[in-house]
Amino acid sequence: MIAAALLAPTVAALVLAVAPRAFAGRRAAELGAIASLVALVELARIPVGRPGTLWAEIDQPWIDLIGARFHVGVDEVSWPLALLTAFLTLCCCIWLWRRDSSPALVALLMVIAAASIGVFVAQDLLLFFIFFEFALIPMWFVIARWGADDARPAATKFLLYTVTGSAIMLVGFVLVAIRAGSLQIGQVVEHGDPSLTGAILIAVGLAVKVPLVPVHTWLPDAHSKAPTVGSVLLAGIFLKLGTYGLIRLNVQMLPEATERIAPWLAGLGVLGILWAGLACLAQDDLKRLVAYSSIGHMGFVALAIATMSQTGIVAAVFGSVAHGLITGLLFFLAGSLKERYGTASLAALGRGLFGRAPWRAVALLVAGLATIGLPGLAGFWGEFLTLRAAYEPASLLPQTFSVVLMVIATLGIILATAYVARFARMLLQGVPTRLDLDRDIVRREGLVTVALLVPILVLGLFPGLIFDLFPPIGYAP
């Protein structure tokens, strides 16, 4: 099942690469949609197993010489994220279901999807790293080729930032693998705690991806210049690679060393919440605004991870999934504005979208409300559990410090409300400035919007869908 989920997009990508002409126009998107659907279904078919064990795995010898194995497996941390990946890719393919879509773009999306699923299921450090890097160059092409006219510097900035981080992470991997004598994540855990330096290097590498302040500046540029599907995958999936890595590699694989850097992680996470919240207040470009808001949300996830408690892990996973759905939706909507009007600048888009394109406006509003963590929508639970985890951290984080961070983090919620209210006022409300291009949401856009709203609402109302994957926490009567 894991193999099928990895193979389906890969095969689709290969087919599209070999015979692009046979898949002109909508057929490429159809093929992509089918492949992502297959991956989604195959991942969903994996029976939910006991927490802390691999529910399904493939463990084959691979590179004996350096002890690397083709070892993939799914557990409660990776499963939701892998599902999210397949789902968002499906949404992207639906989004691309139009006449002028390029088969090459769909092929690159398929590679990105396969690689990201690969990262989430990899149980071998080298394999993890290969999947981690695999998606980068396709993403560079997606941004540089299909993004805004001046997207190339932003794409390169994104790539070089990430690659620097991941190369440093590679050094960390080598260090850890040497000390532990194994590349298998599971065996490194058993070996005990090999290396503080390794943990730091890995965390630094992942911090670029998450991203934590102050290594975040690639993100607004890349997200705002990328094409719609590129932004969605960047925000929805790529950032999760970083948070997932922090959970899997730092918290779970190197717990003792990670405890010592947890205060930094937490501090930077909270700094990111504030930093991003404030930066959002001064943005004119809607996509840039959403990009900055991602930094804030990832700050919450980083804080959750830094607590290193059970609750924190649940919070991080839930927060990651919710952010993927919500920010994905926001980027779809902001992207559709940009595709339609050629700009995402709030000043240029004009006011009164409620009157000009009501459904589009309502969708934006709901997405905006979801992004501020409105209870009842998916964004809430991650934030709440993060605060709860910060209230009683399990790591070396001193509780006083942690509670202070928790309180500061709540400021981020207020800031989020402020920037959503601001963009609602600037874009949605006001006397409508009618533009010739005004047109309400079209069918495929509506389909994607609904497809994302449903899980946002369902997860908001039934958080147990994810909570129950994890070991029970606390008192159960």
């Binding site: 690397a68 160059i137 190369a167 050094v171």
Partner: protein, 468 residues
């Protein structure tokens, strides 16, 4: 002490013999025909490779890389057969004898043979660079290469003389392990002067200046030879000399220097490549940077680990370089230039050349989908992280990023929307088609290795047993 290895010298003799036959066959005919010298050399390369595999068996090491590289280069040299300024017999002879020289230095067990073998490798290389006389720059580059080379050789000789003066022997393993006190300084100077010539040939900073000039002025096929075969031989010889020729406690003398040279090479090489707008120029600078990565594992104390790591990196690097340079040779042939303007969109207009070139470049960058490039990057990181200074590992990490900056630019150029007229190199002459075959085969090899890295790594192990 390593015994004189006929496993290595046998193939060398075959190669040298083939080279002579090629030369004579060419001389004997009045009408110069490429095939007449090409075929014997090809046969000799294949024979030498077969002999090598047959006698030494799998897995192979530096000798295997040299022989496979030579075979591919000879095969691909068919692309040059219409270039009338390139005398075919002499070309094949020089390639064959240089490759034989490479085998000699890899198998040498004393500094005398090493030095003579190094000259056997160097002199034909210089001549090969100067051979492309359609281009005025070629002879200038040959002169540059020559002069720097003789200076480096003289310095190496001075080092050898010093080592001899202190230890009284030039045989590996006999160069005094009981050096103490004041002689320590002399040993230090001696070792460093000795390695200069090898670092020069590998193309490491600060001995790199000839590389960009020579690679860009020579035929890309020759550049490919220099980047793969010549580099493989010199690196192998250097590692054997350092680890086995010199007593183990001297590692503390040369390892810090190796670390610095490696760091400098990758950094300067990558920086130099950043602003290039020509395929060959980029690869030339990149080969300086790669030399740093090749050298880096030598900071480890363990001969087996370090040499295996270097050889594995080398094998993949050499194959990728051959693919890339031969592809560029084809481009040069059919388009007259390897500048980025000519390369733009190549992967679309001429996928049989462009796509392998892109894959080879990604291999050099160490990036998926060229998984094997990444895996070998991992391999060279291991000894560095394990025993080397951590700063070197960080410098390597940063250089992975720096390298990607220009490799990606090249790949992006190859896949850029093409505005030039499509040209199918597969429709070219027989020579071009053969070269494209080499490119395709090499790229297939890289793809196969990416899918199944063990297929390469398990078979590139110059040292399978601990010599101690």
């Amino acid at each position: 002490m390593i015994p004189i290895s006929w496993d290595i010298f046998g193939p060398a003799i075959v190669l040298a013999g083939g080279a002579l036959v090629a030369l004579v066959a060419d001389l004997l005919t009045t009408k110069r025909s490429f095939v007449l010298s090409w075929l014997p050399m090809l046969a000799a390369s294949v024979a030498a490779l077969t002999l090598d595999v047959w006698s030494a068996g799998l897995p192979f090491g530096f000798d295997g890389v040299i022989l496979i590289g030579t075979t591919l280069i000879v095969l691909a040299s068919a692309v040059l057969h219409t270039e009338n300024a390139m005398p075919p017999g002499e070309f094949q002879f020089l390639v064959g004898s240089a490759a034989a020289g490479g085998l000699v230095i890899v198998g040498a067990v004393d500094l005398v043979t090493l030095l003579v073998g190094l000259e056997l490798l160097t002199l034909p290389s210089i001549a090969l660079v100067g051979l492309r006389q359609a281009d005025r720059r070629a002879i200038g580059a040959a002169w540059t290469f020559f002069l720097t080379s003789v200076v480096a050789t003289a310095i190496t000789l001075m080092g050898i003389a010093l080592l001899y003066g202190i230890t009284g022997s030039l045989r590996y393993g006999f160069m005094g392990s009981d050096i103490v006190g004041s002689a320590k300084a002399a040993v230090t100077v001696g070792i460093l002067l000795t390695v200069t010539g090898f670092l020069f040939k590998i193309g490491t900073v600060p001995f790199h200046a000839w590389v960009p000039d020579a690679y860009r002025s020579a035929s890309p096929v020759v550049a490919g030879f220099l980047a793969s075969v010549s580099k493989a031989a010199t690196l192998g010889a250097l590692l054997v000399l350092l680890y086995l020729g010199l007593p183990a406690q001297h590692a503390s003398i040369w390892q810090p220097v190796v670390a610095i040279v490696a760091a400098l090479s990758m950094t300067v090489g990558n920086l130099g490549a950043l602003r290039q707008r020509d395929g060959v120029a980029v690869l030339a600078w990149s080969s300086i940077a790669q030399a740093g990565f090749l050298l880096a594992p030598a900071v480890g104390p363990d001969f087996v680990v370090s040499t295996n790591a270097a050889a594995q990196y080398l094998a993949v690097y050499a194959l990728a370089n051959i693919v890339a340079f031969v592809a560029l040779a084809v481009v040069l042939k059919v388009r007259g230039s390897t500048s980025y303007e000519e390369l733009a969109g190549l992967a679309r207009t001429d996928p049989w050349v462009g796509v392998p070139l892109a894959f080879a470049v990604l291999t050099l960058a160490g990036f998926p989908p060229a998984v094997i490039g990444l895996v070998t990057k991992y391999v060279v990181f291991v000894p560095v992280v394990q025993d080397g200074p951590l700063w070197l590992a960080i410098v390597m990490a940063v250089n992975v990023m720096l390298g990607l900056a220009y490799y990606l630019k090249l790949v992006a150029t190859l896949f850029a929307p093409a505005d030039s007229t499509p040209f199918r190199s597969v429709a070219g002459s027989a020579g071009v088609r053969l070269a494209v075959l080499v490119v395709t085969l090499g790229a297939l090899g890289l793809v196969a290795a990416s899918v199944w890295p063990s297929g390469v790594l398990d078979h590139v192990l110059p040292v399978t047993i601990d010599p101690n």
